[in-house]
């Protein structure tokens, strides 16, 4: 794990900040031993974080989806159906099938929504996710309705494990996926395809006059975002042991956008940082301030937007002693 650096490839020399991130990942890796009670919470946070990275990808093109929980949910349901069809299926297979399911859904929905921008892009995504939500709720005999379906523990590379070791493996899998997919996404942002994708935010006319189809460029990012949400959904479903239509509910999609902005809009690391802090605040707030946890989160978000527009990653950056431009360019 130490060989992996999440630092962006730039002409600038590596500064201590990228070391900080490595330290962060190592600290996360130590959680199961240091603070075992946080283990499951961090697994959930990383699963959500992956989905938030998906939303972040689209933010880079200036687009906001209020329905990306759709892909999160589709992947999770794909896993649940697979487990029902093949009891004792392997985690690797679940990951593959769930992600493919999300990708496929991303392609189908993406082909339509890439024609829209701004508020309509957001609303249309919302509509698709709500359609899927209604279907999950309504077709009770197939989908288990509002209570969803159980997702029994899969085997891991052929081994049937107890909950303890299984969750530990899941935890490290989540960390590996965070590092690998986070790194890939950061690289993708810097790559020609990713850069072309990001120009949708600033000038589609020029893009068209470069001989590039803006819709196809947007679709490429849309697929990546669906994939990331899918991986997150698989992790969440498997860690949770059950999938419910709540996975797809609009509040869940809004929560992803919420975390993306909280973490620092457009930042991959911010997405994970935001997800971790969000999950911790949410869990402890609901435990110790059961009546007002939503209010606390709402106030937290307002403060971030009004007073720290760079998000947590911006705050973190200034704390680390520098103004951070971050993995942008």
């Amino acid at each position: 794990m130490s060989s992996v650096s999440t630092a962006p490839k730039t002409d600038a020399p590596k500064h201590p900040k990228s070391m900080l991130w490595i330290v962060g990942v190592v600290l996360l890796a130590a959680v199961p031993f240091a603070v075992p009670s946080l283990q499951l919470l961090v697994t959930f946070a990383l699963a959500k974080g992956l989905a938030v990275v998906g939303v972040t990808v689209l933010l880079r093109a200036g687009q906001v989806s209020f329905g990306h929980a759709l892909f999160f949910g589709i992947a999770a349901y794909a896993c649940a159906f697979l487990m029902a069809a093949i009891p004792g299926a392997d985690l690797a297979l679940l990951l593959l099938v769930g992600t493919l399911g999300a990708l496929l859904a991303g392609l189908c929905v993406g082909l339509f929504v890439v024609r829209y921008r701004g508020i309509f892009f957001g609303m249309l995504n919302l509509a698709f996710s709500m359609i899927f939500w209604s279907i999950l709720e309504k077709f009770y005999h197939i989908t288990g309705g509002a209570d969803g379906i159980r997702l029994p523990r899969p085997t891991v590379l052929g081994m049937a494990l107890e909950r303890g070791p299984f969750e530990l493996i899941l935890y490290y899998l989540a960390i590996v996926l965070m590092v690998v997919l986070g790194w890939v996404t950061i690289r993708w942002f810097a790559s020609p395809v990713g850069q072309i994708f990001q120009t949708i935010k600033t000038n589609e006319t020029r893009l068209e006059y470069l001989g590039v189809s803006p819709r196809r460029a947007l679709l490429s990012g849309y697929l990546l975002s669906a994939l990331l949400c899918g991986v997150g959904g698989v992790l969440m479903g498997v860690a949770q042991g059950a999938v419910t239509p709540e996975y797809v509910w609009w509040v869940r999609s809004a929560e992803m956008v919420f975390i993306a902005v909280l973490g620092g809009a457009g930042s991959v690391r911010g997405a994970f940082l935001g997800a971790l802090i969000y999950e911790i605040v949410r869990t402890y707030a609901s435990a110790y301030a059961g009546d007002i946890w939503q209010m606390l989160l709402g106030a937290f978000l307002l403060i971030i937007i009004l007073f720290a527009p760079g998000g947590l990653i911006g705050i973190f950056g200034s704390l680390a002693g520098r103004a951070v431009k971050e993995d942008a360019k």
């Binding site: 309509f120 509509a127 919420f258 009004l306």
Partner: protein, 301 residues
């Protein structure tokens, strides 16, 4: 198709559409003028309902006639607009007009979260039900089916009155004309000396009052309980987006479409009733990206 059933479904659809329209009206007005999609609209709707129930309950316990609930509805709605809508605009939205759309939307989402808990702290979690006013208007039997006068006749009338009233307000009063001018071209309006801040505040308060009024009018027909705002907001989003953002008359027609679609679904295929609004929205937006009545923004190079 059986004519009786067709008519019954029509009645049900119209009375449902009336309520949805009243809520969507405020949402689309705010969007049209301020370009902000206000998620907290759902909370204002819920608070309007709670306030009405509390005020009516108090009035009834003082021995007032149930019919007095009507002015109380209006009072609740205005209170919601002034005491909650006003501060939201002045303290929060005013700071973010130059920020990206996403952030504006998220600010209203944060307000939504806060107001959800506020409702719970003030009114608790037990459902409220206060239908004295609805009962005082009595029932009407049509084709062997009993409807309440309130739902079958009053709500659609109020919806039409609001539609006409808002049109009149926008086109024939000074404040309304200022709002329209600002909607059409913000810079131009400011350059001829219109105080955009004042117009925005006015718009947001009117929009919030409409949300509150929607809740107030809904209150005699339904249980008032936590979470009622979250459902309403998605539904009115669907209406507003389908109609075309900022389209007031369009919202009326779309609400009617969605209301009728839903009631016919309940009569003939109840399982898909929940899907109907979103299906209509997706189908319309696929064919007309700018909504049924919206006009496409021209690209100039």
């Amino acid at each position: 198709m059986n004519v009786t059933i067709f008519l019954l479904a029509l009645f049900d659809g119209v009375s449902y559409a009336a309520l949805v329209f009243i809520v969507a009206l405020g949402l689309t007005l705010i969007f049209g003028v301020m370009r902000i999609l206000n998620v907290a609209h759902g909370s204002l709707y819920a608070i309007g309902a709670y306030a009405t129930v509390s005020l009516t309950g108090f009035a009834l316990s003082m021995g007032a006639a149930p019919i007095l609930a009507f002015p109380l509805m209006l009072i609740s709605a205005v209170l919601v607009g002034l005491l909650i809508g006003g501060p939201i605009e002045v303290l929060l939205l005013r700071r973010i007009y130059n920020k990206p759309e996403v952030l504006q939307l998220l600010v209203t989402f944060a307000v939504f979260m806060i107001l959800e808990d506020v409702q719970r702290l003030v009114w608790g979690t037990q459902p409220y039900f206060q239908s004295a006013v609805l009962q005082s208007l009595g029932n009407i039997t049509v084709l062997g089916v009993t409807y309440t006068v309130y739902q079958l006749i009053l709500l659609p009338l109020v919806a039409v009155a609001l539609l006409l009233g808002l049109r009149f307000f926008l086109r024939h009063t000074l404040n309304g004309k200022l709002i329209l001018a600002t909607t059409e071209d913000r810079e131009a309006a400011q350059s001829i000396g219109i105080d955009a801040d004042r117009v925005f505040l006015l718009t947001f308060i009117v929009g919030a009052i409409l949300a509150g009024l929607g809740g107030a009018l809904a209150s005699p027909t339904t249980s008032i309980l936590p979470g009622m705002g979250a459902d309403m907001i998605v539904l009115s989003f669907a209406v507003v987006a389908t109609a075309g953002l900022g389209q007031i008359e369009g919202a009326a027609l779309t609400a009617l479409m969605i209301g009728l679609g839903r009631s016919f679904a309940i009569y003939f295929w109840p399982e898909i009733a929940v899907l109907v609004p979103y299906l209509i929205m997706v189908l319309v937006l696929l064919v007309r990206p700018e909504g049924l009545f919206g006009s496409p923004a021209a690209r100039k190079i």
